[in-house]
């Protein structure tokens, strides 16, 4: 069970990194996530069922997520629709799109197809236990994504992303169109989210169009939990704490699922717990800030 928590946490960490990008770097609260996560899952499941190899499926899922992000950013940029509404529009449309991709079904099992995980299991055979192989595999995947993101934020474009959420005026004065940056940023973010959905489908053994419900809230909760445990503003630490936050979040959800019945909790209460976690984080952050201010003033 312990590896399970870590593996699921790592898979969700990829999604949380996407949420971190939009919410924290771009200052663009993007709700597309609830649609692009299952989008990644259904693209992956469909392409595996069609006989594609897993790598092609992952790339397609990533590409699909990028397109979904483009749609949200374009609605926001072109029609001057607030970001929240733009995200909700795309998310709602994606629900229908996802069912279409599954050929008018709501879910698709992945029982007798080769997934990334069957490849990993095949490699692990006679070497190490399969569960550990999956864990090592996902640690590597998340590490590569984390390092790629860190590198990206050190490029000229990445630095401008850093400035955009902080001081949009400065970006415009620099001759960069913020609308273009938002398009790229929201696109990349949803690409990551869809990638996460693609891995989740393979790990769970099925794709379901309802997989994404409330995903953005768990992503945000992961980001906030991470901010709780590590204080830093170095980009390497920022991405690391998102990953740790996602694992911690999964652990808390596991605890809720397995020990919750002692206090009459059911799995249906988990979304409530996720929301309360976020509210508690906000309240504590607020409290710290007020106390911090009072301290300096006194």
């Amino acid at each position: 069970m312990l590896e399970g928590i870590f593996v699921e946490g790592l898979i969700y960490a990829i999604m949380a990194l996407g949420v971190f990008f939009t919410f924290r770097i771009l200052d663009f609260p993007d709700l597309t996530v609830d649609g692009s996560f299952p989008l990644g899952a259904v693209i992956m499941a469909t392409s595996l069922t069609a006989g594609q190899n897993p790598l092609a499926g992952l790339l397609l899922a990533f590409g699909g997520g990028v397109l979904a992000g483009f749609v949200t950013a374009a609605i926001h940029n072109r029609l001057k629709v607030p970001h929240l509404l733009a995200g909700i529009l795309t998310m709602t449309m994606l629900y229908s799109v996802n069912i279409r991709i599954l050929d008018n079904r709501a879910n698709l099992p992945l029982l007798r197809v080769d997934t990334v995980l069957t490849h990993v299991a095949a490699w692990a055979e006679n070497r190490i236990p399969v569960e550990w192989a999956a864990l090592i595999f996902f640690i590597l995947v998340v590490l590569i994504i984390k390092l790629a993101l860190d590198l990206f934020f050190h490029t000229d474009m990445g630095l401008v992303f850093g400035a955009l959420g902080n001081n949009e005026q400065m970006v415009r004065v620099q001759g960069v169109n913020p609308a273009t940056l938002k398009l790229i940023g929201v696109g990349l973010s949803n690409g990551l989210v869809a990638l996460s959905g693609a891995f989740a489908a393979q790990y769970q053994g099925f794709a379901d169009v309802n997989l994404g419900q409330g995903i953005v809230v768990s992503g945000l909760a992961s980001v906030m939990l991470g901010e709780f445990i590590i204080k830093s503003n170095r980009i390497g630490m920022l991405t690391l704490r998102v990953i740790l936050g996602a694992i911690l979040f999964k652990a808390i959800m596991y605890l809720g699922r397995f020990y919750g019945y002692y206090i009459n909790m059911t799995p249906n209460d988990l979304k409530l717990i996720a929301g309360i976690l976020i509210i508690a984080s906000l309240a504590v952050t607020n409290y710290r800030r007020i106390r911090g201010k009072g301290g300096t003033a006194a």
């Binding site: 590198l151 474009m157 415009r172 004065v173 620099q174 001759g175 273009t180």
Partner: protein, 270 residues
């Protein structure tokens, strides 16, 4: 370099709150000119800069920059030619990022690709530039900009502005938020940079002495119009009493009494 033709700007047009802030505004600024702009609060000076930079679109009239009609161009496109500094020292930098990151973002205008340009050579170049500020910032390149004082931030913003090689500088009371000592340092840097880089400059100031002492041309704005425009010999011999006298004459012509003059004069003399 800059040409404004019959420019007008009305806020909330078509409502009872309609307010014309710039009206029949015509101005030509030649390359290399250093224009100082004074005028009472609410005269429309900042709005004028917003119209030039494209953060506001005019109700009517045209804006030309470098013999190009840019009236329809969005702000980020005009930014190629413009360096703009605001009164608020926080406005020009990203406070959650380091000095060197800020300088990397601002040292070149235009779209940024995902390539890493911030290398040892670039850092050495930034360090050389920071040494000229004589503020010890060259040793603090990895610190967040939020740890700098207002004067340091404004000096840094100024440096970053000239490094990006704009043709035109728009300075909007950029020393007003600083204490006198820092204001003097930033003003010295400003004149040095303008000279060294041959920047065509428009500088809004609330300080009449500065408006007279600096630059090659002086504009006074009132209620969205230019009411005084002096340059050359006349500007060189200008004094504060002479300027107030000119303002009074114009007021007397316009209203035929001195009542308006007094209120106008008081607003002007911060």
């Amino acid at each position: 370099m800059i040409r404004l033709e019959n420019l007008a700007c009305t806020f909330d047009a078509g409502t009872p709150n309609a307010k014309t802030v710039i009206k029949n505004f015509n101005l030509t600024v030649a390359a290399g000119e250093f224009v100082t702009i004074i005028g009472s609060n609410g005269a429309g000076k900042t709005t004028l800069f917003n119209l030039i930079s494209g953060s506001l679109m005019p109700t009517s009239g045209r804006v030309w920059i470098k013999d190009q009609d840019v009236t329809a161009h969005p702000e980020y496109k005009r930014a190629r030619y413009l360096g703009r500094i605001f009164q608020d020292p926080l406005a020009g930098t990203a406070s959650n990022m380091t000095l060197e990151d800020n300088m990397m973002i601002t040292c070149k205008k235009g779209f940024k690709w995902p390539v890493i340009s911030l290398n040892r050579k670039m850092r050495a170049y930034f360090r050389d530039q920071l040494i000229h500020l004589k503020m010890g910032l060259e040793g603090r390149m990895k610190e967040n900009v939020s740890s700098l004082s207002g004067g340091q931030r404004q000096a840094l913003t100024l440096l970053m502005m000239v490094l990006s090689r704009p043709a035109i500088a728009l300075l909007d009371e950029h020393t007003a938020a600083l204490d006198p000592r820092n204001a003097a340092v930033v003003m010295d840097l400003t004149t040095r940079f303008i000279r060294e880089h041959r920047l065509t400059t428009l500088m809004i100031t609330h300080n009449m002495n500065h408006a007279i002492a600096y630059g090659s041309r002086l504009l006074m704005m009132d209620a969205g119009e230019i009411i005084i425009d002096v340059s050359g010999e006349e500007k060189a011999h200008l004094t504060v009493p002479r300027l107030l006298e000119m303002f009074a004459d114009i007021r007397r012509e316009a209203f035929g009494n001195d009542e308006m003059l007094l209120t106008g004069g008081r607003n002007l003399g911060h």
